[in-house]
């Protein structure tokens, strides 16, 4: 063990917190800038309060499914892994939950199926990575391909329409004027925050991602914990599949295309370190909201999606550059 003049526990804690706060404020700043651009470019839309209120809800609602998936992804990345199969798990869960046989069990059966399929695929990922010692990138890449393959096999490459009014109603239901999908996102984010910051599970996740060997020596069952993380990501995907199926009133093998990239990007610009050991749930949520707001901004201005993708790419690069710069200067500061 390196015995430097370690600063008191409380001080590092505060420094870390401050840094997270600064980053989140930065993302709030980006959101405000995006909204201001919207107001300047389409003043006639923004002058209507009903439209503005509705627009905020639409941005949140379109961020809901990917937001839930990003929470799971953030845990996996903080734990030192990566899950490239989230889009494929959504497709498999969604397709499995909307076969005619599953639909005959009603909404409960469909939700149960989606969640169990999600967890099961996550467990397979976890077993391959923890006990099969596969690199997470390879294991989940293989899962990406095979889960979509299985989804295509089950669905016969057809779009499976959900005839269940309860499932379809999830996307149209509002509680106190706020869509149910947004409530689900809020609950998942809150649960994720508590799990990461207020439980042993969260502490272990950070420890495993920061230094697996040290975590093992400290008595953490690293393999089992890694397995749990992928299962958690799978659970989030199962929930995301229900939300997306409800929004599209259908599921198919090609659904949730490239969600893995959106989720990873949102986690990264939210301040999660790709090498693991650090990350925030609130930051990830802001990352998702930034992307959702950009999509909205480009839509109301009728700008092409090509330019939109370039801007998204630019924001990811900028966020990581800032992150590296700040991390470096912070470590230099600590050394001094």
């Amino acid at each position: 063990m390196i015995t430097e003049t370690a600063p008191p526990e409380a001080r590092t804690e505060r420094r870390h917190l401050d840094e997270g706060l600064v980053r989140n404020l930065g993302l709030v700043g980006v959101l405000i800038i995006l909204v201001v651009i919207g107001i300047i470019t389409r003043p006639e839309l923004y002058s209507d309060p009903t439209w503005v209120r509705n627009n905020v809800l639409v941005i949140l609602q379109q961020a809901a499914a990917i937001g839930v998936v990003t929470v799971g992804m953030t845990f996996v990345i903080i734990g030192g892994g990566i899950d490239l199969s989230v889009g494929a798990i959504i497709a498999l869960s969604g397709v499995w939950a909307t076969t005619l046989a599953t639909q005959s069990y009603g909404a409960g059966g469909m939700i149960f199926t989606a969640l169990v399929v999600g967890i099961a695929v996550g467990v397979v990922n976890g077993v391959l990575i923890s006990y099969g010692k596969l690199v997470p990138f390879i294991a989940t890449l293989a899962m990406l391909v095979s889960a979509r393959g299985l989804a295509a096999q089950i669905s016969g490459k057809q779009t499976q329409v959900s005839a269940n009014d309860t499932i379809n109603g999830i996307a149209t239901t509002k509680l106190i004027g706020v869509p149910l999908l947004v409530w689900i996102l809020a609950l998942v984010v809150a649960a994720g925050w508590v799990l990461l910051n207020r439980t042993t599970f969260g502490r272990r996740t950070v420890a495993v991602g920061g230094n697996p060997e040290a975590a093992r020596l400290a008595g953490i069952n690293v393999k089992r914990h890694t397995l749990y993380l992928y299962a958690l990501s799978g659970l989030c995907c199962g929930l995301g599949a229900i939300m997306l199926t409800s929004q599209a009133t259908s599921a198919q093998a090609a659904m949730a295309n490239l969600y893995e990239l959106d989720a990873i990007a949102a986690a990264i610009i939210g301040g999660t370190l790709l090498s693991g050991g650090r990350g925030t749930i609130v930051g990830a949520l802001f990352g998702v909201l930034v992307f959702s707001t950009i999509t909205n901004l480009f839509a109301i201005n009728n700008l092409s999606t090509e330019v939109q993708n370039m801007v998204k790419g630019g924001i990811i690069v900028a966020a990581v550059l800032i992150q590296q710069f700040r991390y470096r200067s912070l470590t230099q500061l600590l050394k001094r």
Partner: protein
């Protein structure tokens, strides 16, 4: 607390969880059943036509991509069903795999088996051009389905849909409807499929050309990806951008499931919508007349059935009985037809 009681507790828990997992597994396995109930589009000339009489045996080699889209699935189903309807046709279907290279390999095997005719829907016309030439040189006539080869020598017959015509038909319907309503400066939305594809661009060109004739133009255009969830996202964005809209063209009925869901979720009914391709669910919705969907323009996978019938005639050296020529023509482009509530009954059989 003793170690043994802990162990016992754990094992009991394990049994419980294990049992639950097995039960869930059994239930889930039962849940993959889908009972496809194939509604393929088949037509044989039942009248006293000479072409209907079983002739010499024709072996048709068939290859289409394994894409996860309803339209491609319908293409393969139709080809198989149509071949099964003829007593003198044997269909040899090869898996085309995931990309052009895999399809080339599959077709090389097929060519070596010397079928009478080959019907193929290439992954990409340009990339499979050489394979078409190879088959033709080996004396096997090639029927190209929908995605054209650059070389005229690479095919005996090309049968394809009309993407530009599809856009033209959609634009014409929308223009005529709005003109009849007396809307002078209409707000028109468009939801294309994958924007980088040539077929999408042709559809949009056709749409714009038709609208121009009425002096109209597209106000906002949000591309989706031929999937229902991407259609939902694109439509939600479009509806938010256009708080008032008069008409909407959605290029693809499969993604249209999501588009219609988004319209319902946003509680909008201030416009009418035209679909594309002609799926069964779209035709049903047009007949039911309880949504904004009032019409769809066809790009029918029934062309696969026609391709098999024509391949049979080519193999038997027969022509089309209504034409003077003794052989099947070299190129057939299907017209894009507009399905509305009035004529939907005729098309119900063609929906996929």
């Amino acid at each position: 607390m003793s170690a043994s009681s802990f162990k016992l507790d754990l094992s009991r828990r394990r049994v419980l969880f294990g049992g639950a997992a097995v039960g869930a597994g059994a239930l889930l396995t039962a849940c993959t059943s889908n009972d496809p109930g194939t509604d393929a589009q088949v037509k044989t000339n039942a009248s006293g036509d000479a072409n209907a009489v079983p002739g010499q045996k024709v072996v048709i080699g068939f290859s289409a991509p394994a894409a996860d889209h309803g339209w491609i699935a319908a293409i393969t189903n139709n080809a198989k069903a149509q071949a099964a309807a003829y007593s003198d046709v044997e269909l040899k279907s090869v898996e085309a795999g995931a990309d052009a290279a895999a399809q080339r390999a599959a077709l090389a095997t097929l060519i070596s088996q010397k079928p009478t005719v080959i019907v193929m829907l290439p992954h990409d016309g340009k990339e499979l051009n050489a394979t078409g030439l190879e088959a033709m040189r080996a004396g096997i006539p090639v029927v190209n389905l929908d995605r054209a080869f650059p070389s005229q020598a690479a095919y005996r017959l090309q049968i394809k849909g009309d993407n530009f015509g599809m856009g033209l038909a959609a634009g014409d319907y929308i223009g005529a409807q709005l003109k009849a309503k007396g809307v002078s400066n209409p707000i028109i939305g468009e939801i294309p499929g994958i924007d980088s594809l040539e077929l999408t661009q042709e559809r949009s060109q056709g749409f714009n050309t038709a609208l121009q004739a009425y002096g109209f133009k597209v106000a906002n255009r949000r591309p989706a990806e031929f999937t229902a969830d991407s259609g939902q996202a694109a439509a939600t964005a479009l509806l938010q951008a256009l708080p008032k809209m008069d008409a909407l063209w959605n290029h693809d009925d499969d993604q249209g499931i999501g588009v219609l869901a988004a319209i319902k979720q946003a509680n909008r009914s201030d416009f009418f919508m035209v679909g594309g391709a002609g799926s069964k669910s779209a035709i049903d919705a047009i007949v039911a007349d309880n949504s904004v969907l009032k019409a769809t323009v066809t790009y029918s996978p029934s062309m696969a059935s026609s391709a098999i019938s024509l391949a049979r005639l080519i193999g038997q050296g027969k022509g089309l009985s209504d034409l003077v020529e003794l052989q099947v023509p070299k190129e057939i482009t299907l017209a894009s037809e507009t399905i509305t509530k009035e004529n939907a009954a005729q098309y119900a059989k063609l929906g996929f």
